[in-house]
C-alpha cells in the first residue's frame, strides 16, 4: 500500500483543484483511506499530485514508425541512454526506440498512450512494438478510411444493409487487429494517390468503388456510434497542411454534426489563405465551430521548432512535404488498405509558414473555451517530439513567456495570426484536463485520467514553485500501477504495461462475400490476417456502451 501524503491534488474529473489531500494506492487501484495495515508514504508536500498522463495521439509503434527509425540514424546518434540494472539501452530523439519511448513518456508523468495509426495488415508489427514500450498501458487505432472492405460496403446502395454491414465489419476489423478505435486518414485521398489522381475533396468520388470522403466519414462515424465504441472515430481529414484547408475542415465538421467525433491534430487543418496564397491562421473560425459543437473533441498537434520526422498514412501529403525540402522520402502503399509516408523536416521560427503553424496550434488551445474538448499533442513526431510537452505547457500557462517567443518568429506572422492578442493563461487545473482527464474521457477510459476511488494507481507528482516547463520536465515521482517508476526524473523500475482493447460484441466472422473478396485479392490468407491473442497478452478490454 502506498500513501501519497500532503500533496495538492489536481483531479478535474472529481472536482479537485489543488486541495491538500492524501491519495491511497493499493493493488493497482486508488483506494479510500484504509483503517490500518502497512504502507509506505511519499511525502508530496509542495507538490501537485495529478493522475498519470494520457497520450491520445502519438506515432510510436509499427511499420511506418520503424521505417522512420531505420531511415534516420542521424536522429539517434546524439540522443541515447545506457542500459541500467532496471532499464534497457535506447536512442533516438524524434523517433526513439521502443524502450526509450516508454521511459521518456514515464519521465514526463505519462502512463497511458495510443498509437495513432495502424493498418490491419501490419497490426501484428504494431503490437510487437507496443509490447516493447515499457511502463505505459497502450492501445492503437485501426486505419479504415481507405480500406477496400469498408469502401466496398459503403458502395452498397441500400442504406439499411449498408449501415448494418458496416457496423459488423468495423467490429470485425477492431477484433481482428486488436485495435481500440476507428482511425480515418485522408479518407479516399490515399486511394486516389495510388491511382495518381489529383486532389480529393469531401465530395470527390474515389475509385474503385466511387464512394466519397463524405460517405466514408459519415458511414464510419455512424458505425462507431452504433457499436457504442468508447472512443469515436479518430479523424485525420483531407488536405492536411495546405493553405486554405479550413474550407474542407469546416465542411467535414458540418457533415459530422451530431456524431461524436475526435478531430486529430486540428492545427494542421486550420489554415486560411493569406496574401499571395500563403498561410494564414484559420484558428478563430475553427475554434468558434468547436465551441458550438460540444459533441466534438480534438487534439492540437502543436508545432515545435526543430527537427521532426513526419510520418503518416497520408501518403500524398508526405510526397508534397518531400518536395518542400527535397529531403529523403519513404513511401509504402499497403494493399487494399492504405498507404504511408515518412519525411524528416526541420521547422524554423524564421520560416513564415512554420511560424504561422506554430501560432495556429496555440490559438486553438487558447480560443477553444472548453478544455475538455481540446487535448495537448504534438502529433509526435509530426509537429514535434512529445518530449516538448513541458515547453508547450509553459507557453500555455505563462503569457510573458509566450510573448517572448513571439518575438523570435518571422515578423510577418502578426499579419496572419491573432496569437499576440490572446491573453488567456491556462491554470494547472486546465493543464490537468488537456493532458490526462480530457483525453481519458474522450477515450472512454473510466479508470484513467482521474484519482477517484477505483481509478488505476497511475499518478504523477510534480514539484510546485518552479516555472511550468521545469515543473513538468522532471516529476518528483511517477507511480505506475502502484509502483514508483520515476524518482526525480530517473527511472527506478520498469515493467510491461497492459495492452488496451475494446470489447466489441460480434461473431468474429467476416461476411462471406467480403471474405471471398479478401482471399482473392490479398497477398495473405485470411487465417493469417487476424492478429492472434499471443500479441496482446493480458489484454485489458474496455466495454462499449
Amino acid at each position: 500500500m502506498l500513501r501519497i501524503a500532503n500533496g495538492r491534488v489536481y483531479d478535474p474529473q472529481n472536482g479537485c483543484r489543488g486541495e491538500l489531500a492524501d491519495v491511497w494506492l493499493h493493488d493497482g487501484r486508488v483506494v479510500s483511506e484504509p483503517p490500518g495495515g502497512e504502507f509506505e508514504t511519499i511525502d508530496a508536500s509542495g507538490c501537485a499530485v495529478l493522475p498519470g498522463g494520457v497520450e491520445i495521439h502519438s506515432h510510436v509503434a509499427g511499420a511506418k514508425v520503424n521505417n522512420g527509425r531505420i531511415m534516420c540514424p542521424e536522429d539517434h546518434a546524439d540522443h541515447f541512454r545506457q542500459h541500467t540494472p532496471v532499464t534497457r539501452a535506447g536512442c533516438g530523439y524524434t523517433v526513439p526506440t521502443t524502450f526509450m519511448t516508454g521511459y521518456e513518456y514515464a519521465r514526463l508523468g505519462y502512463t497511458t498512450l495510443f498509437e495513432a495509426a495502424v493498418p490491419p495488415l501490419t497490426a501484428r508489427h504494431a503490437h510487437e512494438e507496443l509490447r516493447d514500450i515499457p511502463i505505459v498501458d497502450a492501445g492503437c487505432y485501426t486505419v479504415m478510411g481507405n480500406n477496400y472492405l469498408v469502401l466496398k460496403v459503403l458502395s452498397d446502395p441500400d442504406p439499411s444493409s449498408r449501415r448494418e454491414r458496416l457496423r459488423e465489419l468495423v467490429a470485425w476489423l477492431l477484433w481482428a487487429t486488436k485495435g481500440y478505435g476507428v482511425k480515418i486518414v485522408n479518407p479516399g485521398g490515399v486511394e486516389n494517390w495510388k491511382w495518381n489522381h489529383g486532389v480529393t475533396d469531401l465530395d470527390t468520388p474515389v475509385p474503385p468503388f466511387g464512394v466519397t470522403p463524405r460517405q466514408i466519414v459519415s458511414g464510419l462515424a455512424q458505425a462507431a456510434d452504433d457499436l457504442r465504441l468508447p472512443h469515436p472515430i479518430h479523424l485525420h481529414m483531407n488536405h492536411l497542411g495546405e493553405p486554405g484547408n479550413i474550407a474542407t475542415t469546416l465542411a467535414t465538421i458540418h457533415a459530422l454534426s451530431g456524431h461524436r467525433t475526435h478531430f486529430t491534430h486540428l492545427q494542421f487543418h486550420a489554415y486560411d489563405v493569406g496574401e499571395r496564397g500563403g498561410y494564414a491562421s484559420g484558428a478563430p473560425r475553427i475554434a468558434q465551430c468547436m465551441n458550438e459543437h460540444p459533441e466534438f473533441t480534438c487534439d492540437v498537434g502543436q508545432l515545435v521548432f526543430g527537427p521532426v520526422t513526419t510520418m503518416t498514412a497520408d501518403a500524398p501529403m508526405e510526397f508534397r512535404l518531400h518536395h518542400l525540402q527535397k529531403n529523403k522520402w519513404a513511401n509504402v502503399d499497403v494493399e487494399m488498405e492504405t498507404g504511408s509516408g515518412v519525411v524528416p523536416l526541420v521547422y524554423r521560427p524564421s520560416v513564415l509558414p512554420n511560424a504561422v503553424q506554430w501560432c495556429v496550434g496555440l490559438e486553438l488551445m487558447l480560443l477553444i473555451k472548453n478544455p475538455w474538448q481540446i487535448f495537448l499533442t504534438t502529433d509526435h513526431p509530426n509537429a514535434g517530439p512529445f518530449v516538448a510537452y513541458p515547453l508547450i505547457i509553459r507557453l500555455l500557462m505563462d503569457l510573458d513567456f509566450r510573448r517572448s517567443w513571439l518575438e523570435k518568429l518571422h515578423p510577418g506572422v502578426k499579419r496572419v495570426s491573432c496569437l499576440h492578442e490572446l491573453t488567456r493563461e491556462y491554470t494547472l487545473d486546465e493543464i490537468a484536463i488537456v493532458t490526462r482527464a480530457g483525453p481519458a474521457r474522450a477515450l472512454g477510459l473510466g479508470s484513467k485520467g482521474h484519482l477517484g476511488i477505483g481509478a488505476d494507481a497511475d499518478v504523477a507528482i510534480y514539484r510546485l514553485g518552479a516555472d511550468a516547463q521545469s515543473m513538468f520536465s522532471q516529476p518528483a515521482w511517477v507511480v505506475k500501477h502502484g509502483t514508483v517508476v520515476v524518482r526525480d526524473g530517473e527511472l527506478t523500475a520498469s515493467f510491461s504495461g497492459r495492452p488496451l482493447g475494446v470489447d466489441v460484441q460480434h461473431d468474429r466472422r467476416l461476411a462471406p462475400d467480403l471474405a471471398e473478396y479478401f482471399e482473392k485479392y490479398s497477398s495473405v490468407e485470411l487465417d493469417n490476417y487476424v492478429v492472434e491473442d499471443e500479441y496482446v497478452p493480458d489484454l485489458s478490454l474496455v466495454a462499449c456502451g
Partner: protein, 450 residues
C-alpha cells in the same frame, strides 16, 4: 487452422488408419522472403507426411525439418542441453568483446532475446543483411525508399522490372504469387497485362520469363540508374548517337525503358544482390531509389528489395525498434552505436577483434568468406541450429533447437515487411531458439548479479 479430418472419416472408408492425419492449412513457409502462407502440411504421428503448394525448396525445407538434428556438444563431446546452455553463458560472460550474430531465420521473439544478450554483454550485434541487402538499407538512410506491399504488385502493377535478381531460382513462387502471373483487382489479364523487363548481366530463368531482357555489363548499376534518371527527367545527355552504348546497351534501349517507366500506371522494380553487391555497393540502390522517387512526379513507381532469408527483414525491424539501427550495432558504451563496416560481422572478424561469438539461425560456414570462417574457428563459438550443416561440425558449443515455423511458433516478416505468424505444427523434443536464448540470458544476468 488445423482440422483433424480423420475424426469425420466416413464408415465406408475400410482401410484402417494407424492414427489421425491432421491437415494444417495456411502454413507459412519460412525459407525465403516470399513467406508463402498458403502451404498445406499433413501430419501423422507427429511426423510431417506431405507438403502441398510449396515450391521445391520450401517443400524440401518442411519435409526435412524434423530430421538431421545435431547433438548437443561442447568441443565435439556430447553433453546435455543444460550443459551447453551453462557453457554458453560462461563463454559469453567471460568474453571481452563478443559478437551476437545471425537472427535472419529466427523468429522475432528469439531475435529480441539476442538483442538483449548483446546489450547485457556490451557486445556487438549483426545479421547477414550487412553483407547482402545492407547496402540497400544504407541507401534508404540516405534517400529513403518508395515501395509497396506485394499485394499491390499483384493487384496493380502493369510494369515489373527485375533488376539484378533471379527469383525464378531464389524465390520460386514470387512470379506466380505476386509479380508476374496473378490476376489482381486491376490486373485482370494476369501475365498478359503486365510488361516484365529483366536487367541482368547474364541470361537466367527470370530473364527468359520476361518480355524484355536488357543484358548489361557487370558493375554498371549506378551508371544505368543515372542515365535512366536523366532520361526520365528529359535532361540532355551529351550523347547524340542513339546507338552509343551505355552499360553495354544502346542508348535507345534505355530511352525506351524510360518511356515505359513514365507511361506505366503502377511500376515496380524488384532489386537483388546484383544491385546491392555490385561495384559501388550502397551507391547503386541509392541511385536506383532516387530514380524511383523522381518517377513519382509522373506516375506511381516503387522498388522492393528481393530479400533472401525468411526473416532477414524481421531482424532489421527488431533491431530497428529495439536499438534504433537495422544492422551493425555495438553496445560497448552501454548504448547502441551504428557503423556498417566497422561493426559489420565481416569487419569485426576481418580485424580479428571479437573473442567469442553467439551465432543463431544462419550458417557462417556456408555463407562467410574463408578467412572469416577460419577466424571464427579460432575463437569460442556458440551455435544454435536445428540441422547439421557446415558450422555444426566445428562450433565450440552446439545447441540443437526446434525448427521455427514447424516445431516452434513466432513472427516472421516478409520481404515487404508484412509480419506473419509462423506455426507450430509438430512437437519437438528440442527447445526453441527463444527458450534456449532466454536461459542463456538469465544465466548471464544471474552471474553478473552474484
Amino acid at each position: 487452422m488445423p482440422d483433424t479430418t480423420s475424426s469425420q472419416v466416413p464408415l465406408e472408408n475400410v482401410t484402417p488408419r494407424p492414427t489421425d492425419i491432421t491437415v494444417h492449412r495456411s502454413v507459412v513457409c519460412t525459407f525465403c522472403g516470399c513467406l508463402c502462407d498458403d502451404i498445406e502440411v499433413e501430419v501423422q504421428d507427429n511426423q510431417i507426411r506431405k507438403v502441398k503448394k510449396a515450391c521445391l525448396i520450401g517443400r524440401n525445407k518442411i519435409m526435412h525439418s524434423q530430421s538431421n538434428s545435431p547433438r548437443p556438444t561442447i568441443q565435439g563431446r556430447e553433453v546435455s542441453i543444460a550443459d551447453t546452455i551453462a557453457e554458453a553463458a560462461r563463454i559469453l560472460r567471460t568474453a571481452k568483446f563478443p559478437l551476437v550474430y545471425g537472427l535472419s531465420s529466427a523468429t522475432t521473439e528469439a531475435q529480441k532475446e539476442l538483442v538483449e544478450i548483446a546489450e547485457i554483454l556490451d557486445g556487438n550485434l549483426d545479421n547477414p543483411s550487412s553483407y547482402c541487402h545492407g547496402p540497400g538499407v544504407m541507401a534508404r538512410q540516405q534517400v529513403g525508399l518508395a515501395t509497396c506491399t506485394l499485394g499491390e504488385v499483384k493487384n496493380r502493377a502493369d510494369l515489373v522490372i527485375f533488376w539484378g535478381c533471379n527469383p525464378m531460382e531464389s524465390h520460386m513462387r514470387h512470379l506466380s504469387r505476386y509479380s508476374s502471373q496473378p490476376k489482381g483487382l486491376f490486373t485482370g489479364e494476369g501475365r498478359k497485362g503486365r510488361k516484365i523487363i529483366a536487367i541482368d548481366i547474364r541470361p537466367t530463368a527470370t530473364t527468359k520469363a520476361a518480355d524484355q531482357f536488357i543484358q548489361v555489363e557487370p558493375g554498371t548499376t549506378f551508371e544505368t540508374a543515372t542515365v535512366l534518371r536523366a532520361l526520365v527527367r528529359g535532361l540532355k545527355l551529351g550523347i547524340s548517337d542513339d546507338n552509343a552504348l551505355v552499360a553495354g546497351v544502346p542508348l535507345r534501349v534505355w530511352r525506351e525503358l524510360a518511356e515505359a517507366i513514365k507511361s506505366c500506371k503502377y511500376g515496380v522494380i524488384f532489386f537483388g544482390l546484383g544491385v546491392t553487391q555490385c561495384r559501388g555497393r550502397d551507391l547503386n540502390p541509392e541511385q536506383l531509389s532516387v530514380l524511383v522517387r523522381e518517377v513519382n512526379d509522373f506516375t506511381r513507381f516503387y522498388a522492393i528489395p528481393m530479400r533472401g532469408h525468411g526473416n532477414v527483414a524481421g531482424c532489421n525491424q527488431v533491431m530497428g525498434w529495439q536499438t534504433g539501427y537495422p544492422l551493425a550495432v555495438n553496445f560497448s558504451r552501454g548504448y547502441p552505436r551504428y557503423n556498417p563496416g566497422e561493426f559489420s560481422v565481416l569487419g569485426l572478424l576481418g580485424r580479428k577483434e571479437i573473442d567469442a561469438a553467439l551465432i543463431v539461425a544462419t550458417d557462417p560456414g556456408a555463407h562467410l568468406p574463408q578467412d572469416s570462417v577460419r577466424y571464427l574457428r579460432d575463437i569460442p563459438t556458440i551455435y544454435l541450429e536445428p540441422h547439421n550443416n557446415t558450422t555444426t561440425g566445428w562450433a565450440t558449443v552446439v545447441i540443437p533447437v526446434a525448427p521455427a515455423g514447424v516445431a516452434a511458433a513466432g513472427t516472421f516478416y516478409r520481404m515487404d515487411n508484412i509480419p506473419l505468424r509462423v506455426k507450430k505444427i509438430v512437437e519437438s523434443p528440442l527447445p526453441s531458439d527463444e527458450e534456449v536464448l532466454r536461459s542463456i540470458k538469465e544465466k548471464i544476468v544471474h552471474a553478473q548479479d552474484c
